[in-house]
Symmetry: C2
Subunit: 391 residues, 2 copies
């Protein structure tokens, strides 16, 4: 068996917390459809979620059951901690057919295990779980009461253990390596895709003591005409002589992710670039001064808002979110947000990616930190000079 990322006691503790919440909500069975949550519970790790894949968690103290495609059950038995009888594959004849669906098979399995009349909570807003899949599950479980599990597992994930924090520190080292690689290679005349090549290489092999994993979002380079919008993809465009470049990078270790955004300036900056950067750095200082146990997500956002308002700026979108275990397409955990209206009270072990992105007309500034809420304040896991790098 492939070494588990955590010891068995940690998986038991996770399940105990999940089951406590299940009992409180009178849930008899959870159908975990979120891939990161599946990994969190079972240790399973494979790129197999392009066909339906679930983890079944009964409220009793029994092993969860992983179900995926038959050919991937072999990988399930290599990577998940459960006994082989709880790592099951639906037959190949169910893959991408019009007249049957893997969820038909999974509904039958739920019935066969004696769980078909329970209050069953299904994660209804997970990536890779489709409306058709859900309709077939519901049709196959006529005696069950189907509920939305909402973010039950995600909220359990919001407080990180020391072992998880250790992986996040490794991830931060890889994020720093990726940012160093970017700073080294990016120069006028270099192609964006060649910078991306170096960044990927650093993300995967950038530390001698551990491997890097795929990050849930690919590296983002926002430069030239793409600079005024987030989330665009690279191309073979060459960096110009005078360009502001926002880099949104990350590192991942055993799927634990640290985000790191910085801004570079090639040649002469535009008129407002340095002023905006100054405001954003001051804003980050305010965020770091605000984060500690007992304050809310909106308290932290208010601290930032006060600073940038003084500089005559504003930003509509949130300035951060809970980060930790991530599979594509998102490393955010969909729980805590740093924004107005977020009343979650921060506690030690929360980890936040605070990303201050200002996308202006034809250029943009981004700075981010991955921040661990500690007993009395906070600490940035990522360490990299925050100033706009001139080159």
């Amino acid at each position: 068996m492939v070494p588990l990322p955590f010891d068995r006691a940690e998986y038991a503790a996770r399940l105990a917390r999940i089951r406590g919440e299940m009992a409180r909500r009178d849930i008899g069975l959870m159908v975990v459809t979120d891939i990161a949550n599946q990994h969190y519970i079972t240790g399973y790790d494979g790129w197999s979620f392009y066909t339906p894949q679930v983890v079944l968690v009964p409220v009793e103290d029994e092993e969860p059951v992983w179900v995926g495609r038959a050919m991937d059950a072999a990988g399930g038995r290599l990577t998940a901690w459960m006994r082989p009888e709880n790592v099951l594959g639906f037959p190949e004849s169910y893959v991408q057919q019009t007249d049957r669906h893997p969820m038909d098979w999974i509904a039958e399995l739920i019935g066969a295990r004696g769980w078909g009349r329970r209050r069953i909570a299904v994660e209804l807003e997970a990536y890779y779980y489709s409306p058709k899949a859900h309709a077939r599950l519901v049709a196959g479980l006529p005696a069950a009461t189907i509920l939305d599990a909402e973010l039950l597992v995600n909220w359990v994930r919001a407080v990180k253990s020391p072992a998880e924090i250790a992986y996040l520190r490794n991830a931060a080292r890889l994020a720093e390596a990726a940012m160093r690689a970017a700073a080294e290679i990016i120069a006028p005349g270099v192609r964006e895709c060649d910078a991306i090549a170096r960044i990927y290489a650093a993300q995967m092999g950038g530390h001698q003591d551990f491997a890097g994993d795929i990050t849930a979002l690919p590296p983002t380079i926002l430069a030239g005409e793409n600079a005024s919008a987030p989330h665009l993809m690279w191309s073979d465009r060459r960096f110009g002589a005078d360009e502001t470049i926002a880099l949104e990078l990350a590192g991942a270790c055993r799927h634990y992710t640290a985000g790191l955004a910085r801004t570079m300036q090639l040649g002469r900056p535009g008129p407002k670039v340095l002023d905006t950067a100054k405001a954003v750095l001051e804003g980050m200082e305010a965020v770091l001064a605000a984060v500690r146990p007992g304050v809310t997500g909106e308290d932290v956002e208010a601290a930032w808002r006060t600073v940038i308002a003084r500089h005559g700026l504003k930003k509509e979108s949130r300035i951060g979110y809970s980060i930790g275990l991530g599979y594509p397409p998102d490393w955010g955990e969909h729980t805590i947000s740093l924004r107005q209206g977020d009343r979650h009270v921060l506690e030690p072990g929360n980890v936040l990616h605070s990303i201050l992105g200002m996308w202006m007309d034809g250029w943009g500034i981004e700075v981010s930190e991955t921040i661990l809420v500690s007993e009395r304040g906070c600490e940035t896991l990522t360490e990299f000079p925050r100033e706009v790098a001139r080159k």
Copy 2:
């Protein structure tokens, strides 16, 4: 605006084919939820699909409408070909909230455009469209008739244009560069993650004339104890002295993907490795001899099956599928499969990734080709020696 991957006439031709099929099925509006289909129709390209994102296609000859998160509408206006009024963002206040949902806003938009009483076909089995999202869309459109769009757009995509084939040829060059990089670096004592680093670098920057894109599946190295299962992830394990290594790689250009799998042997092969490899290579010859216009998916599979049965082998899973435009998590298009029961008649412009993977007890053999169905037969887009490389 960022240069479109295709000229406007090609987008018009795609829409005409989609609308012909919509009219035939009496569909008044399509809600396209598959990200690759959205790109195919609009040219939009951003890593923004971790919040809900749709493309609305009315049956009339009007521009489609892209809808995503407000901050990503800026990128939509840079990358999609429609006029700005047809590239819309739902407000930031709808992002990951418990009391409202982006699909509420999108349902309202559909009503406001006068489409709320139509027969509306929604893609119900796309990766980033959740049961909750669909429930909110349906609730917001009480006067509509909601249908499953099924694979309508995917089937239109199954026949590639010359411009698409040109991108696939570029992708094949990147896949070959990635395989060359893997063959160079892999040796006893090298870490898997360092091989992955080189592979990624080749995928992104491996050709001087065009950029590489992220591939829908990450590179896969199956070696050591992982070799008996597909789809597992790399680690910092070091390659051993005597090891069979299956490499499932790809290249992508403008999101068009060519897959390429090969097997390497470090040191001495196990007793059945070379015999199995011989059978698989003979099977690939049979596949390539069988693929031509007029034959079905199951005809091709039968040709393979006959060969490997003669060698005393069998394989449960399909041996190939339609490939082309791909976003994570899958480069398969979910239409044509090379397997028993597939009656799709191949036609010129179909592109298949035929992957012959035999996962045995502790080792595995993989060989694949990306195959273009031509006027009279077929051609492999990927060119790389097929034999097991000894090192």
